[in-house]
């Protein structure tokens, strides 16, 4: 019998046979400028070749590391992931692709593994060539200092932060019968976060043995319910990547339908934790809003409306001000390009209707109660179109002055 996954300390090196290391290469600027170099590179390494799956940005403009990792995943196998912050290696053309390849070669040589078992991820400024000269000694240093302690996992999660304010990781232990496997992950988010993957990097590891085809399928399904249901600013980046490595080092093999269900559930929990952490740490975010659209003619319609509402600068600004402004929500729904009857719409804050039949439905006392809800750090907004069974969910944020301030120029890389 299986038990509910149990949260454990650590992240990507919590599963057996995975270790991590970081290096400070000077890709990311020091802060203050005269201060010490910050960690800006990390390695996640499996002791033995792992089954691997990946999901990448849908942006037409794909960064060099995305192109390379996608190619290296053709064999559905990987042993190491190299991640760097401070430079996205996006919009860097042929030289950028060569640089990504070169970092993979250096990693493969340092770890003595085949080149196509190396995956790479970059995040940071777009359009600047990767400082490969600075990175080579960093990669070699990291390859020599791999560890599997929780502290090392946290350092790895920290090293890929850009405008993130906290490292993001999650790990669970799962029992199947009397055997145990572990699954853990790290992620970075902060800006350029939108459905269809975000400026986010995420590496998930597990010591379960999972058939590659199922690994890819499970990852795709879980992402559609987690990372693809979050939105900070509606900007879908050039570098979004989620990688999943399963090295089978535990005694658990995922074969039966029941085992697959248990594995997917644990994978969902890790991804949901990380997606939630990304939204809560969205650039300048002061509130997290669980937006649900129900009663639409189709799920696709519901999703369009949810995106339109979650991407509206006016709606998000009102949320920042603690204003339960249902009129702006209905207005944003109205330009989503979806047919519905505005006269049937109900808008609900934490179970309390703010509008019914497309109109205000509260007196002054009710409005005061709605304001209390909208002033919270977290609340739920439901838009019920009362016109069908289609529904969609989106975890989103407000839009604060801090968001703009943080993005007036490239964040301190």
């Amino acid at each position: 019998m299986s038990k509910h996954p149990k949260r454990i300390v650590g992240g990507v090196n919590a599963p057996k046979g995975f270790s991590t290391a970081t290096a400070a290469c000077g890709i990311k600027r020091s802060s203050p400028k005269s201060g010490p170099l910050r960690n800006d590179l990390c390695l996640v390494v499996s002791d033995i070749p792992a089954a691997a799956a990946g999901v990448f940005t849908t942006n037409l403009v794909k960064a060099a590391p995305v192109l390379l990792s996608r190619r290296h995943l053709d064999n559905a196998r990987a042993s190491a992931v190299l991640l760097n912050s401070g430079n996205a290696n996006a919009c860097t053309g042929e030289p950028g692709e060569q640089a990504a390849e070169e970092t993979a070669i250096v990693t493969a040589l340092a770890l003595d593994i085949p080149l196509d078992e190396v995956l790479v991820c970059s995040t940071g400024r777009i359009g600047v060539q990767l400082p490969i000269g600075k990175m080579i000694p960093g990669i070699e240093h990291a390859a020599w200092s791999l560890q599997n302690t929780p502290a090392a996992a946290t350092e790895a999660a920290k090293s890929i932060m850009t405008s993130d304010t906290v490292p993001k990781q999650s790990a669970y232990e799962v029992k199947i019968g009397n055997k145990v496997f572990r699954i853990g992950g790290l992620a970075k988010g902060a800006g350029m976060i939108s459905p269809n993957m975000a400026t986010m990097l995420c590496v998930i590891t597990t010591d379960a043995a999972v058939p590659p085809a199922f690994l890819q399928k499970a990852l795709g399904e879980v992402i559609s319910q987690t990372f693809n249901c979050i939105s900070v600013d509606g900007d879908c980046s050039t570098n979004d990547t989620v990688l999943l490595l399963a090295n089978g080092t535990s005694a658990v093999a995922i074969k039966s339908a029941g085992e697959k269900k248990i594995f997917s559930e644990a994978l969902h929990m890790v991804c949901a934790d990380l997606a939630r952490a990304i939204v809560a740490d969205g650039e300048g975010t002061s509130r997290v809003i669980a937006l649900t659209v129900i009663g639409a003619k189709s799920n696709a319609d519901a999703h369009k409306i949810a995106r339109s509402v979650a991407n509206s600068q006016l709606v998000k600004s009102a949320w920042a001000g603690g204003d339960p402004n249902w009129g702006r929500i209905l207005c944003a729904a109205g330009y989503a390009g979806v047919d519905f009857d505005p006269g049937k719409v109900e808008i609900i804050y934490d179970g309390m209707s703010a509008a019914k039949n497309g109109m205000e439905c509260q007196d002054a006392k009710g409005e005061a109660a709605l304001r209390k809800i909208a002033a919270k750090k977290e609340f739920a907004v439901t838009v019920d179109l009362h016109s069908g069974k289609g529904e969609a969910r989106l975890l989103t944020t407000d839009l604060t002055e801090d968001y703009v301030r943080l993005n007036l120029t490239e964040f301190s890389l």
Copy 2:
């Protein structure tokens, strides 16, 4: 022979046979709260019934005044436009439609004109019932105090301001042969400004005699090139309305193809002036950016990319910071849902290439020059896809901390 339209003082009452008046009804809050009431209602009246045309919001959620004015325009004739600020009469259901009708009835009675010659426009807070009791004496007062001075036109333009910081009007005199006609307009903009019409109201008047069918056609065409090519925040409102009244009081009749061309040109100049004034006065705006996308496979593709770039919070925040961040522009183009080759893209600031072939193309000195351009109050950004002949133009703005501050809650109405 015709001469180029000549700019003249005033706005909607510059054409002969039009007059305006305002009233302070208390729909808009006083500022400071204990201060005197501010003008929040105005009438634009033609001495004789005028041919009339209108273009309205494409938002599925249409305010009550939009529904009423559209219906009253069935006869393509109007004598008066009643406008109010402080309350949008949107999302107000049946009672809202009755209130709009009631204000039109009071206007018709006060001016002794048929009900269906009255058009109404509202702007302000969504979801609150119109304070009809306060408005009736204001309408009656205004109907008794109509004037055709430039000062009265300016007062009218001021009375419909919400978060606008300056009144917006424009007027031209046009010679055809040795005859003269005039055309003038007023507008309000500020927030919820996006292609497909904005939270904007605009009334244009002319003393030329124009056949109604051509009037509607010319208005539609000019709007597609002016008001529908601006974007402040990507929010398309519930109340957008542009009305055009032609009362024929001048000796000029627009009949021949040549005369139609001259009329359309003058109409274009008024609309372009007002559209530009709306963008320049966008909420919290510190810069105006003339965005052009060229070299796309089709005009539709170019337009999608222009919107994606102009609505990107990251791109707009960078512009606010004076950062010529071409990477964010290319990234936003990449998620526009349009097929193009990122490796061919050129991005140009005021004639200076920031990126070619999808990559950086300037050294440190060139970058400094680009920063100087992006620090200006106005500059042009061209995205050349080098893949076809499709093109699109959009006048847009940056996204500042002030925008968010202004929208933390409903602006002082």
